[in-house]
């Protein structure tokens, strides 16, 4: 689960792919996950970080993270 190198992101959740010209927006948790991905955090590390901060159990979040990953793949943002 690795972001493409040329993807530009902002802390507010704006994402731009200069390769395709597509822009995206994400919600705050999505933005936080993307920023963790930029820091090359692994999925277990992302789960730990998010579950420590937000009111969500790790099993549910793991499912949501998988789902988010498939959205990022569809959006052509992951390597």
């Amino acid at each position: 689960m690795k972001l493409k190198k040329n993807i530009a992101t902002s802390a507010e959740g704006f994402i731009f792919n200069p390769g395709t010209g597509d822009s995206f927006s994400t919600n705050p948790i999505g933005a936080e996950i993307i920023s963790l991905l930029k820091e090359e955090k692994t999925p277990p590390m992302i789960i730990d970080t998010i579950c420590a901060k937000y009111d969500i159990d790790p099993i549910q979040f793991e499912r949501d993270l998988d789902d988010f990953k498939s959205q990022l793949v569809d959006s052509n943002i992951l390597d």
């Binding site: 994402i15 597509d22 822009s23 995206f24 927006s25 994400t26 919600n27 705050p28 948790i29 999505g30 996950i33 901060k53 937000y54 009111d55 969500i56 979040f61 949501d64 993270l65 789902d67 988010f68 498939s70 959205q71 990022l72 569809d74 959006s75 943002i77």
Partner: protein, 453 residues
């Protein structure tokens, strides 16, 4: 430290280009209470899914429609259309308000009697009335609306046989300029069939022709069609007085007024496109009042309005069972109610609201029911907040036809709760059980052994 509120991560592509003026509306606004009662507490107490009806709204609708017609025309009578919603509690609210009963089958007729409606205030419509039912209705002095010549001749025979003189009307079908033309019920106006039926009744010593009836369609969006219908019934009324010196006591324009639901395929929501009851009332009463009847000969105007009086008093509460993604990336949300309970999902794009607050992020999704059937779709496309398992939803304007056309299929039918004028809740129909479902089943003796034991 208290943890922050969680919301499922989501990413949305931003599209540049022209705005779509017919784009789907996003249902952000949570509906947490119905008539002051919280959705959460209703579901906790009565389960999910759950139909909820508001007595206040039913009475408001009735009183408003009644006022609209009565301020335009001196003699108006509503008759509650049982098939629209024949829960006894609902029927009794309408009867308390002054509505007669309009029924279309033997069991609906029995229900009306059971609800305390005097026989002479029951209108018996529909193409299927058995000999026994016709005789019983005649004995009760009910208004029998004759649908076809077979019924007409049956009724003449039965009246002679039993020495009765039932009060009857004929159902008239006609061209009102709308498509599709409803010509399967009653006698046609344009080809003279209706006049033949009238002549036959008047020449019969055993039938008393007291009214004329029509039912020109359902979910009618054209008040002008009612004006045409009223005109044609007035023409018949006038001709009957001229030729037979008989005063027709009432004109019954049937039902068909729409609710503000949005029909499938419509570009704009029903709230923007559906004519108001005032417009229908203007169209109908202008024609009758302008026809030239003497004051004492003005017919009673009967209306069998159903849907427009109850649809917005009904809600269906439900819960999210699961969310998943379809092969094309769209979100699919699976609910605990489907087209078996919400039959009108076949006709309308129902307004669906979340029952709890969400952030401002949304996604387009398909709302599926829980049935193992591909056609079990509550909304094909709707933009909603990021729903999760266990969230509650409120479907609006479900009071008409769902509680009569619902199917016992795959799941059992849920509780129906009425919120009364003081916001107290009452179960008016209990959720079905397996025991209830199997009450009328019988297993032949040769199948009683379990072959797999």
């Amino acid at each position: 430290m208290e943890k922050l509120k969680y919301e499922r991560p989501v990413i949305k592509k931003m599209n540049a280009g022209l705005m779509n003026k017919f784009g789907t509306r996003t249902e952000y606004e949570p509906v947490t209470h119905i008539e002051g009662v919280s959705v959460k507490s209703l579901i906790k107490q009565y389960g999910s899914p759950l139909f909820v009806l508001s007595e206040k709204q039913i009475r408001r609708n009735y009183q408003s429609a009644s006022r609209i017609f009565k301020t335009r025309y001196p003699k108006v009578q509503f008759a509650w259309s049982y098939k629209t919603n024949y829960m006894n509690a609902v029927c009794r609210i309408f009867h308390q308000e002054g509505s007669w009963a309009e029924v279309v089958s033997g069991f609906e007729y029995e229900k009306a009697l059971g609800n305390g409606v005097p026989g002479n205030k029951i209108i018996f419509n529909g193409p299927d009335k058995s000999d026994d039912q016709l005789v019983a209705a005649a004995r009760n002095n009910s208004l029998i609306h004759i649908d076809h010549f077979d019924e007409l001749y049956s009724l003449i025979r039965l009246s002679e046989l039993n020495n009765l003189k039932p009060r009857v009307a004929i159902r008239v079908n006609m061209d009102t300029g709308i498509y599709p033309k409803w010509d399967r019920f009653g006698f046609n106006f344009e080809n003279g069939q209706a006049w033949n039926a009238i002549t036959r009744i008047i020449n019969s010593e055993n039938l008393d022709l007291v009214g004329l009836h029509c039912h020109i369609g359902t979910f009618m969006l054209s008040p002008a069609a009612y004006a045409v219908a009223a005109g044609k019934l007035c023409e018949l009324t006038w001709s009957i007085k001229e030729k037979f010196n008989k005063v027709i006591q009432y004109i019954d324009l049937g039902g068909g007024f729409p609710s503000t639901n949005t029909l499938k395929g419509a570009y704009l929501p029903g709230t923007d496109t559906v004519p108001s009851i005032d417009q229908f009332a203007d169209a109908i009463t202008d024609v009758i009042l302008g026809y030239g009847f003497k004051q004492e000969d003005l017919p009673l105007l009967i209306l069998e309005t159903g849907r427009a009086l109850i649809d917005d008093a009904g809600y269906l509460l439900g819960s999210v069972l699961a969310t998943k993604r379809l092969s094309d990336g769209r979100r699919a949300t699976i609910l605990d109610f489907g087209v078996n309970s919400l039959f009108t999902a076949f006709w309308y794009d129902h307004k669906v609201s979340p029952a709890q607050a969400f952030g401002q992020h949304t996604e387009e999704m398909v709302l599926y029911g829980p049935l193992c059937m591909n056609i079990d779709i509550v909304r094909e496309s709707i933009t909603m907040p990021l729903l999760e398992k266990g969230n509650h939803l409120v479907v609006h304007k479900v009071g008409a036809y769902n509680m009569t056309q619902w199917m016992q299929f795959i799941t059992l039918r849920p509780n129906i709760v009425l919120i009364d004028n003081d916001n107290n809740t009452h179960v008016i129909r209990k959720a079905e059980t397996l025991e209830y479902l199997e009450l009328n089943e019988q297993v032949p003796a040769h199948l009683s052994l379990n072959p797999l034991k």
